[in-house]
């Protein structure tokens, strides 16, 4: 459903991504892994319009989305989370999650000002939807808390809830378990499996190999901006190029 073709991105002459191609299958979990600086986050940014690729194309559900502004990509049904969390610290948990429903909110300022019954009903619907998402991630208790005072693990869950609440057709998770302890990581793993079971399509960028190997259907490995391997978790695990990228080059060059 998402096809990345020969994508290139340079930062001041240094290639962060060169000629990377891969596809996501509908209803599957694809993991994008690689050592630090491999270009994983750049890839997510180029897909979502947060960054502009220098060459190549991205197609989503049969439509080219290369270079579209981020808000239009979001409106097509691609949701994402951020590596270093980008929540709205002053807003409460429920309001943060409601922000995830912007795609479904009205865009008319006049409607918002006058608040006719149609807008009122829509607001009620969105509120119920957001409450359901909070319930799913065990955040109901925290609904009225300003996000800024929450613990890190809770904030991670708020961001996940914000991404999922709009029923996107594709969810990009940028390091969802970075900084979480073992139990929290297991919980996120279960959540990813649950999303997959519901038919969501996910792209997971992650360092935690146990998580990646446990939840992914397909793994794409980047190293130095190139795609060096792809396949099922087992295939990738046994690929010598991947071992080399992760364990160092000394054995190969010696």
């Amino acid at each position: 459903m998402l096809d990345v073709t020969s994508l290139c991105r340079n930062f001041g002459g240094l290639p962060a991504l060169s000629e990377v191609s891969f596809s996501l299958q509908r209803g599957r979990v694809t993991a994008l892994i690689g050592p630090n600086g491999a270009g994983k986050t750049t890839m997510i940014n180029c897909i979502t319009g947060a960054d502009l690729p220098d060459a190549g194309r991205v197609d989503f559900a049969g439509e080219e989305i290369t270079g579209l502004p981020a808000y239009r990509v979001a409106r097509l049904g691609i949701a994402r989370t951020f590596q270093n969390l980008r929540l709205f610290p002053r807003l409460s948990v429920i309001d943060n999650v409601l922000c995830g429903l912007t795609v479904h909110g009205g865009k008319s300022m006049l409607g918002a000002l006058l608040r006719p019954p149609s807008v009122r009903n829509r607001e009620r619907r969105l509120h119920l939807k957001a409450m359901a998402a909070l319930d799913r991630f065990g955040l109901t208790e925290l609904a009225d808390w300003p996000v800024g005072v929450l613990a890190y693990g809770d904030r991670k869950r708020v961001e996940l809830a914000r991404a999922v609440v709009s029923d996107p057709s594709l969810i990009l998770l940028d390091e969802p378990v970075a900084g979480l302890n073992h139990e929290e990581t297991m919980a996120v793993g279960n959540e990813i499996r649950a999303l997959r079971a519901q038919g969501y399509t996910l792209l997971l960028v992650e360092h935690d190999m146990d998580l990646v190997m446990g939840v992914s259907d397909h793994v794409v490995v980047l190293d130095g901006g190139r795609c060096i391997a792809s396949g099922t978790p087992d295939e990738v695990r046994q690929n010598p190029l991947v071992l080399e990228a992760y364990l160092g080059r000394t054995s190969a060059t010696a």
């Binding site: 979502t48 981020a70 709205f88 002053r90 479904h104 909110g105 300022m109 607001e123 300003p146 914000r162």
Partner: protein, 330 residues
């Protein structure tokens, strides 16, 4: 849920509507009991400023932008209405609407390029706009009356009912202010309002959630300019006289101070900020003489200790306290 809980839940659910209702009743009754014309003149001014500060608060507090030029839009409303009704003999009510539309066009023309800027640059651009408008008001004296101002603006009327006394104006001004406050409350509790709050919190995250940040900024800028223009028209018809001094850059700074002191991102804070900074100098002589210094000090102290402003800052503190207590009990 017992009946006491039900009452509390009802109050909680309809807290916004009930607050508006209560304020409306207070404002409707109090001038009848206490009709001092001097005080009424002052509260009328507060009502007018509330409308400007509300618009500016949507722009600064919700959308996270900055404008040091809103006195210019206030001026466009006031002088627009003054000119249309006296020089060109136009009906007052339609001219308020026409002037607001004209101001919206100007805000659009200024906003599209200016809102590509951030922070200090945006502040300077809007400040520059205010200086331009102020200079035009002072220099183009055949049209604007120059530094000495423009007198003889007719009062508004409905049929033969003239809004010509402080008491009648009280109802006119506060009806307008309450309508604007209600519209503001509606806006911030909607998807559009949350989009603005998202924009203020984190622009990149807002875009990734589907908020067209560039358009949203221009829209709320135009909205705030329209509110300032309406307030300006009301000002002209209420006091019958306008002069450039009301609309200089210090007026813009005062509006920003009202927003910050009242509470960034709080509709009620707009009312509070406008009221506080308009009342204080009237009651404390020292405040009058050193107005600029005290405004500056107030701004600094609030920004240092309650950066969200008095109302918002205190409400935020209370919210965290409440949430903590509920959490401990659970």
């Amino acid at each position: 849920m017992n009946s006491r809980d039900k009452i509390f839940y009802f109050l909680y659910l309809h807290r916004t509507g009930l607050t508006v209702l209560m304020l409306t009743m207070v404002l409707a009754i109090y001038p009848l009991l206490y009709g001092n014309p001097y005080i009424l003149g002052l509260t009328n001014l507060i009502g007018i400023y509330t409308i400007v500060v509300l618009g500016l608060n949507l722009f600064i507090g919700y959308a996270g932008q900055i404008s040091l030029g809103h006195a210019a839009f206030f001026a466009l409303g006031a002088y627009g209405s003054a000119l249309m009704t006296t020089e060109w003999g136009f009906w007052p009510w339609p001219s308020i609407v026409l002037v607001a539309l004209g101001t919206a066009m100007i805000a659009l023309l200024v906003g599209i390029p200016a809102l590509r800027l951030h922070g200090h640059y945006l502040a300077m651009a809007t400040l520059g706009f205010n200086i331009v408008i102020y200079t035009v008001l002072v220099q183009w004296d055949e049209l604007t009356g120059g530094p000495s101002g423009f007198a003889g603006i007719p009062s508004l009327s409905i049929g033969s009912w003239q809004f010509d006394s402080d008491l009648k104006l009280h109802y006119l001004v506060w009806a307008a202010a309450l309508i604007c406050l209600t519209l503001g409350l509606n806006l911030v509790r909607s998807g559009v309002g949350r989009g603005l709050a998202a924009l203020a919190g984190d622009e990149i995250a807002a875009r990734s959630l589907g908020v067209d940040t560039r358009t949203a900024k221009v829209k709320v800028f135009v909205l705030s300019a329209v509110l300032a223009s309406l307030a300006g028209s009301l000002y002209a018809h209420t006091f019958g006289f306008v002069s450039p001094d009301t609309f200089g850059i210090f007026a813009s700074v005062d509006f920003v101070t009202m927003v910050v002191v009242g509470g960034l991102g709080s509709v009620w804070g707009s009312l509070f900020g406008a009221a506080l900074l308009t009342w204080l100098p009237e009651f404390i002589d020292l405040f009058e003489a050193y107005k600029e210094i005290i405004h500056g000090l107030l701004l600094v102290v609030v920004l240092l200790y309650l950066p969200q402003g008095l109302v918002t800052g205190l409400v935020d503190l209370a919210r965290v306290r409440l949430a903590r207590r509920r959490h401990r009990r659970a």
